[in-house]
Amino acid sequence: MDISNKDRARELPVQQIDVFTDTRDILAHANRAAKKRGFEDWLICDVDAHHTETISWHELVQYIEDPVIRHQAMLFHDEKMGTASYGLNGDMGLKYQDVGGRIPHQAGIREKVDDGVHRDVTLSRRAMSALGVDYMVLFPTPMLTLGLHPQPEMEVYLGRAYNRWLIDKVLSKDDRLKTLAYLPFNVPKEAERTIEEFSGQPGVIGFCVPSVRHKAVHHNDYMRIYAMLEERNLPIAFHAAYHWQDQSLATINRFLGMHALGFVWCNMVHMTNWILNGIPERFPKLKSIWVESGLAWIPFLMQRLDDQYLMRPSEAPQLKKLPSEYMRENCWYTTQPMETVNMKALQLTLEMINAESQLLFASDWPHFDFDLPQEIYDLPFLSEQAKRNILGLNAAKLFNLDPTPRKTL
């Protein structure tokens, strides 16, 4: 028998990846891929990554401004066991993102975190260095459904507490971490106060409306908010999510279906209102970013709105050009979860949205459908400049960040 002896087999330590595995170990192959592609010299901005703010909820509630609510929330967390986070309206057990425990980094991150800073700083740094990211924009997770809260004031209390806590504990510890600060959109006056108070604070590069809510983005009450953001040259982001109590999605019985539609539907509704009511005409310098809906919905909506608009322009008299033109010129999009099964469709999508200037890379780490920067780098139909723009330079321009890479791989 001819047995080779020149390439000896060497046993490698093998350990199943689980919720205790270190982020750097889970993403070791991502790091290798980043080095192989020379990302050391590329600016990479991750415009949508997450932390699980509810793990620190006992800490966060101490930042609630109202003394009575703060007191209640702190007692709630001191005394109750096995309970959900005070004041949140998530759909409790219907959290199937991890496919029944099969995707550990989505199920929970329980790795050891002991370097003396807040765990969210450490975990984000680990992810940034593994993925090759220079700047990371952090979003909350369960709070993304607060827009449907039956008590609109709760969005105000918790949104403000979140902003204050995040800046104090996380963003001021590492200037590579950024936020699009939480806007309590159900109470427009409070949203205005939020913009006044948080603009210019460490790490704040714009504001975010969690999209799941039944509020008309074109309501007159919001115009001052848009004017304030436009004046300050700060973008507004609509971060998608889903909620099983959204009646328009109530018949869906699979998380797969809920995730596929829910994360897109809320932004499709807002975008339709945003465009047909002429918000980009009224606030031409206001930059809107559409986050975590993927990309496949955009060509559909462009075609559909253009087609209808041509037949009924009198219903959208503020418009001076086609809906798709506003969507291409005034709106920015984050990549994740980028639909890649049909590459031709993806290529056309990137053309239609003018990806070279409007598209922003996002990983969505640590969620189950996260993407790596290589997903953009490896696309066969983009120029190197387009790839550099999407991976970082478009974001640097939009958020006024220094385009010099900061990471070490």
């Binding site: 001819d2 087999a9 046993e11 192959h29």
Partner: protein, 137 residues
């Protein structure tokens, strides 16, 4: 194409796997119900450590509301995004025609048979009476 001794048969219980580096490649060896299979440790999707995912069964259903788990221990599920691969063939369960992870031929031989010939067995001493797993690369 060369053959490499990568494990002793009795070191790998049913349902267990072992990761080895051989000829510059990371390969995972699985014991599926007493048979050995080897696949590359790189997911064809975005490149995760595929073999560090859970080994799972298949969820099947012929009619609404009736589910069964079959083929226990025959699929490995990528730890990054959950794509499932048939350990026997390396093919993706959902898209077998286009998506697969490289799989390697595996055989079992007696130490005695391996001892004949001008070679040195790999990381461990080969004894004549025991059975070994050999992968072809």
């Amino acid at each position: 194409m060369a053959r490499h001794v990568i494990a002793k048969v009795d070191e790998l219980e049913v349902g267990k796997s072992k990761l080895v580096k051989v000829a510059g490649r990371d390969i995972a060896l699985f014991n599926v119900k007493g048979e050995f299979f080897a696949i590359a440790n790189r997911c064809p999707h975005e490149g995760a450590d595929l073999c560090r995912g859970q080994v799972v069964g298949l969820a099947e259903s012929d009619e609404p509301g009736k589910y069964r788990m079959t083929r226990h221990g025959e699929l490995v599920r990528c730890p990054w995004h959950g794509w499932e691969f048939d350990i026997r063939t390396g093919k993706s369960w959902c898209d077998p025609a286009r998506t697969r992870v490289k799989s390697f031929d595996v055989s079992v031989a007696k130490g005695g048979a391996l001892a004949e010939g001008p070679y040195q067995a790999e990381t461990f001493p080969v004894s004549i009476d025991e059975d070994y797993v050999i992968v072809e690369i």
